[in-house]
């Protein structure tokens, strides 16, 4: 475990991503007096409240006023501080979208946004609290870096790395007690560099967030039952995207499926599709996510099942794509 952290993998298994974020931010705050915190009456549920308890003199609760909060964060950054801002993803990227763009991204300010309850992780709350648009919205903001950590351990890594990473960073995390897919935080996490979670040569599943663990499970299942060699890529950074990891997947497996807790428009799948299209290589390609609709209401596990974002759904999707008529092209190596 990294310096300054008291929690261990056992803790990580019993803590939410947000809990871990709160702990890590406290540890960072001990070392760096320039780190300040903000929330909009969600200090408790986003767990930035841990920082607030430890450092009350540098935590600012904006009340239920997200636009003002992101403007305040811009001002604090202009004063030379490093604000960490936490509220739900939906209010960050839509209610305060213009402040995030114009106050923070346009001025290239050092504001770190940890947006919780992303995707459909608060499925039971309904559409007002779902956020299946944030990746698309944030991707179109110049200067923004976007990370969707796969678990609490990766959240810790992302939060730590974001401190010294210049400019605005958007880290989207969930809400529940999702299990970990990393055994430790010592796997060379680097912003913008994808992680291969499972080797494979038949097909590649490119994932972010909670879908990574499900994909690893699916890959094991498919190896055992179908004899398929399924590569799983953890594309934790959506922007800047690790294009090399996508190009390798095209080259080595020629079949890609993306899985994300987001509308199929605008997010990870779209980002990967852009690389596939520009590669000039033929590649079977499928995007799985929320199919351009407002997600149903329900507990996340039921929703993940419904939208084929869990292991069962992934296994089925892989079999579908593998069953398609996708002939090898002898001249493929010569293509542009």
């Amino acid at each position: 475990m990294a310096e300054g952290l008291t929690w261990n993998v056992y803790d990580a298994n019993t803590m939410t991503q947000a809990d871990i974020y709160g702990e890590v931010l406290c540890a960072l705050g001990e070392k760096n007096p320039d780190i300040v915190g903000l929330s909009a009456d969600l200090a408790k549920s986003t767990k930035i409240g841990k920082f607030a308890e430890r450092f009350p003199e540098r935590f600012f609760n904006a009340g239920v006023a997200e636009q003002n909060m992101f403007g305040m964060a811009a001002g604090l950054a202009k004063a030379g501080l490093i604000p960490f801002v936490s509220t739900m993803a939906v209010f960050t990227t839509m209610r305060a979208a213009e402040q995030v763009r114009t106050d923070i991204c346009y001025q290239q300010l050092n504001v770190k946004i940890i947006a919780t309850h992303s995707g459909i992780s608060f499925g039971q709350a309904g559409t007002t609290h779902h956020c299946t648009e944030d990746l698309g919205i944030m991707r179109s903001l110049a200067n923004m870096t976007i990370i969707a950590p796969s678990d609490g351990i990766e959240t810790a890594n992302a939060v730590r790395e974001s401190v010294d990473y210049p400019g605005p960073v958007y880290i989207r995390i969930g809400r529940g007690f999702e299990p970990n897919c990393n055994d430790s935080d010592d796997y060379g996490f680097q912003i913008g560099r994808a992680v291969e979670m499972h080797p494979g040569t038949d097909i590649t599943l490119i994932c972010c967030g909670i879908t990574v663990l499900q994909a690893v499970e699916a890959a094991k299942h498919l190896k055992e039952n179908d004899g398929l060699s399924v590569r799983v890529v953890n594309m934790h950074t959506i922007k800047p995207l690790d294009r090399e990891a996508v190009l390798s997947a095209i080259q080595d497996t020629r079949r890609i499926i993306t899985f994300e807790e987001h509308n199929v428009l605008g997010g990870l799948g779209t980002a990967v599709a852009e690389v596939v299209a520009a590669s000039g290589k033929a590649c079977a390609f499928e995007q799985v996510g929320i199919p351009d609709c407002y997600c149903l209401v329900g507990y996340p596990e039921d929703l993940y099942h419904h939208y084929q974002l869990n292991m069962d759904g992934m296994v089925q999707k892989v079999r579908e794509v593998m069953g398609r008529d996708f002939e090898d092209d002898e001249d493929w190596e010569d293509e542009v």
Partner: protein
């Protein structure tokens, strides 16, 4: 810090220069938000001549006072003042609005020296000013943050979110102006979306309100001085101004919220300044 008659004369000269510059740049640029630039001239001249701790030779000086021109569309009245203060060469403003110019209509803090915060989208400036003031307090710095709002801008809900925060955090190191020129784009503020009783609103949000003649240097200067001595909460100085002030045919006429000048009108406008 009362100001002497001599100082007032100097400030009047600089205000006239700034109005001339505004007219010239509007002419060069083919159009600008001239009415709301002319109305805030005395506010900016009082600040920059008399009150701000700044060093144009060292624009990033950490302990400088900060200025947030929340009514960023009035940039045509701000950047020439910065040029005259020595932040950059005035002649650069001949390219205002033009291809690759650092000077767009709305000031960009990454491109224009002396501009502390990029503005232009109304309703954003006061929040950023609140953040700056909180940052100064946390860092135990004594610099002040000054924020200049437009009156039409106060239709934005985010202004009142920020106002709530400024008084909640008792930001006595934040001094806010409203350039109350009584017009927004579409007409008189009270016809478009009324903001009165304006001073009562600020009061209700926890501000100490000072209403002054926005074209009087002594009145503005005294209000700033009083604001600095205030210990109970943030101060807003509501500056009663005339849109288009100084150019007789532009005064109190919403038509000149944004406008261009041809060479005849340019001469006429400048002549009006000398009346």
């Amino acid at each position: 810090m009362t100001i002497s008659d001599q100082e007032i004369k100097e400030m009047e000269k600089r205000a006239k220069q700034l109005r001339e510059d505004i007219i010239d740049i509007t002419y060069w640029a083919g159009g600008a938000h001239i009415g709301g630039a002319l109305s805030m001239v005395e506010i900016l001249v009082t600040l920059y001549d008399k009150h701000l701790a700044i060093d144009p030779g060292n624009p990033d000086w950490e302990d400088r006072d900060r200025v947030v021109l929340s009514k960023g569309h009035a940039g045509v009245g701000y950047v020439p003042l910065l040029a005259r203060k020595g932040y950059f060469d005035f002649d650069l403003l001949k390219d205002f609005n033009k291809f690759k110019s650092p000077f767009g209509m709305h000031p960009d803090s990454l491109k224009v020296k002396g501009v502390d915060v990029s503005t232009g989208s109304l309703g954003h400036g006061l929040s950023m000013a609140v953040g700056l003031a909180l940052g100064a307090r946390y860092k135990k710095k004594s610099w002040y943050t000054y924020c200049v709002l437009g009156d039409g801008e106060c239709n934005e809900g985010s202004i009142w979110e920020a106002a709530m925060a400024a008084s909640h955090f008792k930001l006595t190191n934040l001094i806010t102006f409203v350039d109350r020129n009584k017009y927004s784009v579409d007409g008189p503020t009270e016809d478009v979306m009324g903001i009165e009783p304006f001073s009562d609103k600020w009061n209700a949000f926890g501000f100490i309100v000072k209403e002054v003649d926005g074209h009087s240097f002594p009145a503005l200067s005294d209000a700033i001085e009083a604001a600095k001595n205030e210990t109970s909460g943030p101060v807003v100085i509501i500056a009663d101004t005339l849109k288009g002030k100084g150019v007789d045919f532009m005064e109190d006429d919403v038509k000149w919220h944004y406008g261009g000048l041809d060479s005849d009108v340019l001469v006429e406008a400048k002549a009006s300044l000398n009346k």
